[in-house]
Amino acid sequence: MQRLVAAALAAAVLIPVPGPSTAQDVRLTSRDGSVEIDGTLLSFDGEYYRLDTVYGILTLDGSGVTCAGPSCPDPEAFVPDFLISGAAETGAVLIPSLLEAFAEREGYAFARQEEDASHFTYVLSDATTGAVAARARFRVTSSDEGFADLLAEQADIVLSFREVSQAELERAQEAGLGDLSRPARSRVAALDGIVAVVAPDNALQSITLPQVAQVLSGEIANWRALGGPDAEIQLHLRNPRSGLSQSLRDAILSADGPSVRLDATRHRTTAELADAVSTDPFAFGIATYSERGSARALALAGSCGTLTRATATALQAEDYPLTAPHFIYTPARRIPRIAREFLAFIQSPEAQPVIRELGFVDQTLTSIPLARQGDRLAKAVLNAGQEIGLRELRRMVSALNEAARLTMSFRFEGGSSELDAQSRANISLLAEAVNRGRFDGRTLIFAGFSDGRGGAASNRDLSRRRAEAVRDAVLALVDAGAAEAVTFDTDGFGEALPMACDNDGWGQRVNRRVEIWLR
């Protein structure tokens, strides 16, 4: 038996999983008849059979075997069929619209079949012959259920509005679905942010992050405490199991901190939440940048007087602290080729205008010339003093003069030297842009900055080391030829150009960064 399996697996991947024995409904036989494998057909993608056998789950190249049994697919009539499951934030509008754009670009006609509120299917067909080319089924519920569908061997693509949790990561690993945290398994479809929202006619313009936490916990329950009228704050939140609520807990409420007010109005969708807030002047809600609807997003005030607004540019550059990417996870098994092509399309430059038009934040690299960053420079000059002298500022300005800052930065997880999720995705995004020749003949400056704690000299050192680490991570993914066409510079400017207040935890995190400048 051992010998037979080895022979059959010459062109196959073996993923053993412990599982109950099931009905043996197909038999795959090698062309020369020397190997036979019985099992339950799990899937066939037009090229490969996935079979649950007594040896575990086997993936076998269809060109090397013949199939016999009641469940054998007809390779000629094969239509790829895949399930996209997960967060409504990502799956209701963004991914279907991108699928439509993909179909149009590839010359497929498409039709949408509505089953119920959360299930629909796109049928892609050849525009001339009408032959069905693929079925993309959508199950649009929550990030939690997306991962559950993946673990249940149902979903081929998971949409999530939060990072995969440690528990999900481990269970996926155990189930043989691979390491979902690896770049090959996870990607960012679009960027987004968490915003505090009020009605357009509410006078409040900005709020501090601690105040947001206090409103959530009920410590601040009256608008008077925020400079408003004597009226109770009506709190509106998503349901606790939504990806937004989970991200919110990670971003604003510490694990051991106070919990959320119990009398908050919970909403099934962010759209419903935004609509409810937009028509009630005493409402306060937590929504997303893309689904803020008719409600107004508040700027985040720093304790030293800075105001940070959630704009597309600020979210791309992560200058706004509460970023929340839309993730796509795929298991470490074959998914149909058309699905792989679709995933590649989502990250292509062609998809970015579609993403933008839908109100999400795309990942197009744009640049902001130094001349348009007067505010930041003015702030830096005002901050100059004992630690950062004019000489250091002059060095920074001359290093960045005639350069433009790209709307891509690298930031780190709170209290660690690990890049955060968006920044990890940026590594490959930047490397791809270099590989495509986008920066040929130009200089990319990796400019490190730090927060203001600690001495100026050590901060400068630290920021330079961070810049070098990011450059090395990018270079590791850049083709040798492409790397030669671009000059890679690194520099560290310590605390010279703060973006937010160092007194605030989130301000420190925003200030600790590596910016990318292009000259």
Partner: protein, 323 residues
């Protein structure tokens, strides 16, 4: 045009057609194609055989005031129009309306197209109209006329119109202000079917910001209330014909940020239950293109008659951002 003659208008606001002398600097008619190239329609004999109406007694005859072709800015130049038959009287119907089929398309404020069809010898005839992938059926009135006001989906807007399955005519008109308007259309076949619902700026269902067939608003009213309006196209009293709804929103002139939520409702009726309803959704996009989605909707079984299926994501919400 003789708007006073009969209840010719179904949807259009019966305002008088702008006269040739009225200045219309904003809207220019690009081209208008009339019936000229379809000679069989214009043969006098043909017209005579089609004229089923008995000649009314003289005192009930409506005075036949023919439109002055030369003064009409959207009529074709005389050299491309069919010359009237020698005996003009033979080419009029009992109401004094010309039998020559004539189609005009006029741009109106708000990227609307006033479509006017005269075919005096085709009273109560079925008219199928297509525009930018949208198709619906109407009928001419007893005098052989049809006037509609249609929110355009593209500019230039092309309309193909055929009366009683005759060879189609085309009219084309440019709409300079189309960029200020977002439009969403839904089309299907049959009486029972789908309906567009728009909730403007957080409006709750049933409140004034909820635009649907129950409260469609008119283009004029929409200008006053700074919101959108819904147009129903297709004769609503004929079973099995094509019909459509268009929701129109003046995004470019609204002057505020926010969102218009769009959803489609499908009523479960004895006609639709347990069936798959085929429809098409069309939506203008920011770059002037049209997003077209073929749609099929599984309607629940007949035990659910009376229920309504709400399809939230078939249409994309309109996100309005003032920059």
């Amino acid at each position: 045009m003789q708007y006073g003659v009969a209840g010719a208008t179904r949807i259009a606001v019966p305002e008088p057609r702008p006269s040739a002398t009225a200045p219309k600097p904003l809207y220019e008619i690009e081209t208008t194609t009339l019936t000229s190239s379809y000679p069989f329609l214009n043969r006098p004999q043909m017209n005579l055989t089609k004229q089923s109406l008995p000649t009314p007694p003289a005192d009930t005859l409506v005075p036949a005031t023919l439109p002055d072709v030369t003064e009409d800015p959207i009529s074709l130049p005389a050299d491309t129009a069919i010359a009237p038959p020698a005996d003009a009287a033979l080419n009029l119907n009992g109401f004094g309306i010309r039998c020559d089929t004539e189609l005009t398309a006029t741009a109106r404020r708000g990227a609307l197209v006033a479509l006017s069809l005269t075919s005096g010898c085709n009273p109560n005839a079925s008219v199928s109209i297509t525009h930018a992938g949208l198709s619906f059926s109407e009928t001419t009135d007893a005098t052989g006329q049809l006037a509609l006001e249609i929110p355009a989906l593209t500019s230039p807007a092309e309309f193909t119109v055929s009366v009683d399955d005759a060879k189609p005519m085309m009219a084309k008109v440019a709409l300079p202000d189309i960029g200020d308007h977002d439009r969403v259309a839904l089309q299907w076949t049959g009486t029972d079917g789908l309906s567009i619902h728009a909730l403007e700026f957080g409006a709750k269902p049933g409140t004034p910001g909820h635009i649907s067939a129950d409260d469609p608003r008119t283009p004029l009213r929409s200008r006053l209330t700074h919101g959108g309006f819904l147009t129903h196209l297709g004769a609503s009293d004929t079973e099995g014909t094509d019909r459509a709804e268009i929701y129109s929103f003046p995004t470019g002139t609204i002057g505020r940020d926010g969102v218009v939520r769009l959803h489609v409702e499908a009523r479960v009726t004895p006609m639709t239950c347990d069936k798959t309803l085929e429809a098409q959704a069309l939506q203008t996009t920011g770059d002037g293109d049209l997003r077209v989605v073929d749609l099929s909707v599984d309607i629940p079984g007949c035990e659910a008659v009376g229920d309504t299926l709400v399809l939230k994501n078939v249409l994309q919400d309109l996100k309005i951002a003032q920059n």
